[in-house]
Symmetry: C6
Subunit: 244 residues, 6 copies
C-alpha cells in the first residue's frame, strides 16, 4: 500500500480543508491521518454499517481481528489500527505500518505477508466453521505473493528457474502445486495461531463489535491482558500521535 507523490499532495490538501472546516489554526496529526484514510481507502461509510445484521457484523469483526492476529503473531509489521467501519468498497480494514523502509524482502517477510492476508479467512473458519466471499481479494493477493515466491524468487522446492508466461503447461502446473502447498502450510500456521491465542482473538473481536475501531494502544492493552508483548516495535505513527 505504497503512496505516490500525487497521493501525498492530495492527502495534505484534504487535511488542510479538514483543518479549515474544524476551524483549527493549523493542520493537526488527526487531520493528516483522517485525510490519509480518505484518500487511500475512500470516505468512511458508517451508514452502511448500520444495515449489517448481527451475524454479518460478527463475521466482519472476526475477519478483521483474524488479519490483525496474524499480523501480531506472524507478520513483519506492527498493527496500528483495526476497523470495521466500511471505507470505499471495503467493509473493514487492518492497518499496518512498516517498521522501516525495506529494499529487499526475505523469505520470512514474504511468508508473513501471505499469513496476514489469510488471517481473515482463518478467522471465519475458526469462529464460524465456514468460508465467506469476503476473502476473495485476500486470496487473490496471497496467491499472487505465493506465485512471486515460487516463480520469480526461487523460494520453493521447484528451484531457481524463473517461470514466466511462456512456461510449459506442466511446469506451470508444478508451480501451482507449490503455490497451493505454500498457501496450505501458511493457513495451518495462521489457524494454529488463532486457536492457541483464542482469548486475545475473542477480546479483539469483541472490542471491534463494541467500538468499531481499535488503535495501537488498545491492541497493546489486549496483548498485555493475555500475558503477551508485541513482537514489533511501536510504530512511527503511534510515536507521532503520542507526541502530538
Amino acid at each position: 500500500m505504497g503512496m505516490s507523490g500525487a497521493d501525498l499532495a492530495n492527502i495534505m490538501n484534504q487535511a488542510a480543508i479538514m483543518a479549515a472546516k474544524s476551524k483549527a489554526t493549523q493542520i493537526e496529526t488527526i487531520h493528516a491521518l483522517t485525510s490519509r484514510d480518505v484518500v487511500l481507502l475512500g470516505e468512511a461509510r458508517p451508514s452502511v454499517s448500520k444495515v449489517f445484521d448481527e451475524r454479518t457484523r460478527h463475521i466482519l469483526a472476526a475477519h478483521e481481528a483474524g488479519h490483525a492476529m496474524a499480523a501480531l503473531l506472524l507478520g513483519p509489521d506492527p498493527v496500528t489500527r483495526i476497523s470495521i467501519i466500511p471505507r470505499g468498497p471495503s467493509l473493514g480494514v487492518t492497518f499496518m505500518s512498516p517498521v522501516k523502509e525495506r529494499f529487499v524482502h526475505d523469505n520470512d517477510y514474504m511468508l508473513g505477508q501471505v499469513m496476514v492476508l489469510l488471517g481473515g479467512r482463518a478467522a471465519e473458519q475458526v469462529v464460524f466453521g465456514t468460508s465467506t466471499t469476503g476473502a476473495r481479494d485476500d486470496l487473490n493477493r496471497a496467491t499472487q505473493l505465493a506465485r512471486d515466491m515460487v516463480c520469480a524468487h526461487g523460494m520453493s522446492a521447484l528451484g531457481l528457474q524463473a517461470i514466466g508466461e511462456g512456461a510449459s503447461p506442466q511446469l506451470q502446473y508444478e508451480a501451482e502445486k507449490q503455490i497451493a502447498e505454500l498457501l496450505k502450510d501458511a493457513m495451518v500456521r495462521v489457524v494454529d495461531a488463532l486457536e492457541e491465542n483464542k482469548g486475545l482473538f475473542e477480546e479483539l473481536t469483541a472490542g471491534l463489535l463494541e467500538r468499531e475501531e481499535l488503535f495501537e494502544e488498545d491492541i497493546a492493552l489486549a496483548l498485555g491482558n493475555h500475558g503477551l508483548v508485541s513482537r514489533h516495535p511501536v510504530s512511527e505513527e503511534a510515536k507521532i500521535a503520542e507526541s502530538a
Copy 2:
C-alpha cells in the same frame, strides 16, 4: 437479480402509467409489483401459454415447483411467487425475496443458490424421469456459481489458491472436477428433498397447473397442509402487500 437506479425509475414510471390507466388516484402496491415484473422480466405473455400442450404445461409447472421446493427446503430466501405465465424469453419464474441485504455470502448461501438453480432439472427427473433443454440457463448459472466457489473463494478441496484464466490446463481440469462433484452432490440433495416431500411438491405443481401463479400465502398454506413451517421469515414484500 439486482436492480439499478435506472430500473427503479423505470418501474415507478410504468407503475404511474398503470395507475393512470386503471383510473386509480394513486400508485397502489399492485401497480408497483406488476410494473417491477414487466421491467425486470418482460411483459406477461399468457397467449403463448395457451399453445402449450398438457405435457409441456406439466413439465413447466413441475420445473418451477422444483425451483420453489429447493428454495423452500434448502435455499437462503423466502419464495414470494411461483409462476408459469411466460414473461419475456422465460416460460416460468420463481420469485425469491432476500431476507436482508447481504454483504458477504458464506459457503451455505452459495450452495443454497446452486441448489435452487438445480431445482427445475431435479423436478424433471423426479416427475418425468427425463431431462429437458429448459434447464440450460439454470445449468450455466449453477456452473458459474460453483466455479466461483472453487476458483475465487477457496471453498473446495482444491484449497485457497485463486484460479484464473492463466491457470494451467491440469489445474483447470482439477477445478472442473471439483465443480462437477459440487454440482452432483447438490443435485442429490435437491432430488432427495423433492422425493422426501413429494406431497408438497405435487400440491405446488397442481396449484400451478390450475392457477398459473402461486403467492407467498398460497405457499404457506401448502406447507401447512403437509405439516411444515417455512424456514424463512415472511418477506418484506408480503408484509407490504398485507398492510396495503
Copy 3:
C-alpha cells in the same frame, strides 16, 4: 428448419407469382407449398438428376429412405415428403412437419433428431456396406446436437456442468468421448431399425427410384403394406392438403 417473417413474406410473394403464372384466380395450397420448397431449399433441379448414374440414384434414394425410416420409427415428427429431386445444393431431402410447436425439448426428442440425421449414413451401410461423402452435413449437425446434449443440457454421464469454450482440454476430451458414444449408440439403434424393417425400407427406396418423390399418403400406404401404423399423428400439412 425454422422460418423467419421475411421467409414467410417471400414465400407468399413467390406463391402469388406462381398462381398468376398458372392463371389461377387465387393462391392455391400447391402454390404455397411449392413456393415454400423453393424459398427454403432452392429451385428444384431435375436436370441434374438426369446425369446421375444408376448407382448414384440408388445411393441417394436409399440415403433419403434411411432418413425417413429413422424419422418414422425413431423420430419425433411425422414425415410429410421424401424426395430425390435435387434442390439448391442438396441432392435429396426428407421433409418432416412438427406435430406441435415445442418450447422445451426433452432427452428423447434430442436423441430422436440425432437418429433421423444418422438415417442416411445408416442406409448407405445397410444397403451398400459403404460410407459416402453425402452424409457430411448430417454428421456435422448430429455432432452439434450431441454436443449440446452433453455440454449445454447435462444429458450425459458427464453430469450437469456447463462445458464451454474455456473448458480444459481434458474435459473437452471427456465431452467428446460422450458425444462419440452417444452417436455410436444412436447409430446402432438406427441400423437395427433399418434391418428389422428391411421390407418397408426397400419399398420406400424403390418408390423413390420410380417416382422421385413420396408423400405422406404414400408413406402411410407403405407402412400398412408391412403391417405397421405410423407412430405419429397425421401432419397439419397433410390435413390442409386433404381439405384443399
Copy 4:
C-alpha cells in the same frame, strides 16, 4: 482439378489463338487439349527437361509411372496421359479423366484417390529404395484427403463424430493416428501392386524415358503386353480424340 467457367473461357480463347497461329480454319481437338494443358498446368517447358541428368529423369519417370500404376490398378478413373515434360512448377504429371460426373464419393473412391497420390513415392521406394522431396505436394494432398475421411466423413474407427478445429488435442491426436494408419495401409497396397506388376511398371517407365509422354492407347497396349485389361472404360476424351 475442377474447371471454372473462367477457365473454360480462357481455354477456348487460347485454343482459338493456337488454331489461328497454325492457320487452321477451325479449332481442332488438338488445339483445345493443348490449350487446356497450358491453362490448367502452365506452358510445357521441355528446355528444363534437358538439364536433368539420367538419374533425375529416371526418378521422374518412375514417379509418374507409379502414379499411373496406382491409378490403373487401384484408382477410380482411367489414365489418359502420363508425361515427364515439365509444365509450370510441376516436373511431371499423370492425367486422369473421370468416368462420369460424381455427386457423392464413397469410401473406395476416397481411398483410391489417396493411393493414386501415393503412387509416386511408392515408385521411388520400389525402384530406388529411397524417398525424394518430389512427393511433398502428393503427401500434403493425401494427408488432407485422409483427414477428410476421418474427420468429416466418419470413415474411420474413430466413428461418426465431426472433428473440427475446436477439437481437443487428444482427439486431434487420435484422428492423426487414424490418418497415419490409413496412409500406411494405402502405401502397402500401392507398393504391393507395383511389385506384383513390375513388368508393366518397368515398361511404362521405359516408355516415358524414351518418349516423354504416353497416351491412353499406349497404356492400353502396355496393359495388353502383360496380359492385363484396363479396369476402367475408355475415357470420353479418348473417344473424342479417336473420332476427331
Copy 5:
C-alpha cells in the same frame, strides 16, 4: 554489458564536464571511469544507502561479495570492482572486465556466467540461510542463459535440436527440466566454493561493509591474505589506472 557508440560519446561528454567542474586541465582516467559508471548504471545514490538498516547492509554486502567470489573462483573474467553504493535502480554491483574480446563462447564460459549470476543468492543462503527478492533479476538472467545453452546451443543432454517458440509443450518441459538441473548443479558449485573459501568471503563482505567499494588491488590483497592467487590476468582497466 556492451557499450554502443552513443554510450561512448555520452561517457566522454560527461567526463569532460566532470573534468571542467573539478578544474582539471584535461580529462583524467578517474573522470572517464566515473562517467562510465554514471552513464551505464546511473548516478551513485549514497543517500539511499544511509537509510539501510544493518541487516540490509549486511545482506547487500554478502550478496555482492557472493557475485565477486563466484567470479573470482569460477567465472571467466577478472573482477575490477565490488560496490554496495546504490546506482540507478541497483543496490549494489560487481564489475568484471573481459580479459579479451570474445567472438564465440564455449560451454565453460556460459556456465561461468551462470555461476557468477547465482553468486548473490548463494551468499544469502550461506550467510543468512534465507533467500531474498534482491536476486530476482539475477535469476531471470541466469535462467535465460541456461535456456540459451539448452535450446539454442545444444549444450545439454537434450541434444542438438534447436528448440524455439513453436516447440511442443512436452519438449518445452523437457528443456525446462534441463534448465532446472543446470541451475541446480551450478548453484551447488557456487555454494561449495563460498563455503570452502569462507575466510576470503567474509573478508570481502567485511571490506564492503566498511568501505562500500573494493577495487582490483583490494581484491588481490584479500586473495593473498588467504593464500590464493587470481585465476585471471590483471584487467586492462587496472593496468590503465596504474599507469595513469
Copy 6:
C-alpha cells in the same frame, strides 16, 4: 544459398568496378569470384581476424575444417574453398559448389546436408571436447532440414503424414523425437568420420591456421597426402578457374 537475378546483376556490376579499379581491360574470373563473395557473404574483414587470440583462431579453423571434412566424406557436393577470413557477420565459411542443378532431393542428399551443417560442432567436440555458441546458426538450419525430412517429406519412422502447424501437441512431440534422433545419428556419423580421418582433419586445420583460406586444389592435395581421393568430381568453378 541460391542466387537471384538481382544478386547476379549486382555481382557483375561489382566485378566491373573491381576490374576498373585494378586497371584490367576486362572482367577476369578473379573479379567475378571475389565480387560474388562480397555480394553473398559481405566484405572480407581481415582486421577482425587479427584480434582473435590463438585459441579462438584454433576453434574457428577446426570448426570450418569440420564442415569441410563432413562435406568431403559425407556430403553431396565438392568443397571449393574453406576460409577463416571473417566476412559480414560470419567468422568463417566453407564453400561448396553443387555438382549439378538438382530438381528433387533424395533422402541421402538431405541427410548429407544435415551432416555438413553438424561438421563444425563435431569438430569442436573432437578437438576441444567442448561446444561453442558459434554453431547456433548451424543447429538451427540442421534442425529445420531434419524437420522438413520428418514433417514434409515422410522420411522418418513417423510415416507419410504431412505434419503442419495445426498438428496436435503429441504428434508435434513425436516429430521432435524423430528430429532429435535423426540429428543424433547424423552427429555420430560425422564424429566418427572426423576421428577415423584425424590426419586429414588436422592437416586442413593446420592449413587454415597458416594460410586462412584453402582452395579446391589444396584440398585435393591434402586428400592425396592421406591416400584418399575425392568422392566428388572437380567443380565447375575449379574448371573455369583452371582454364582462366
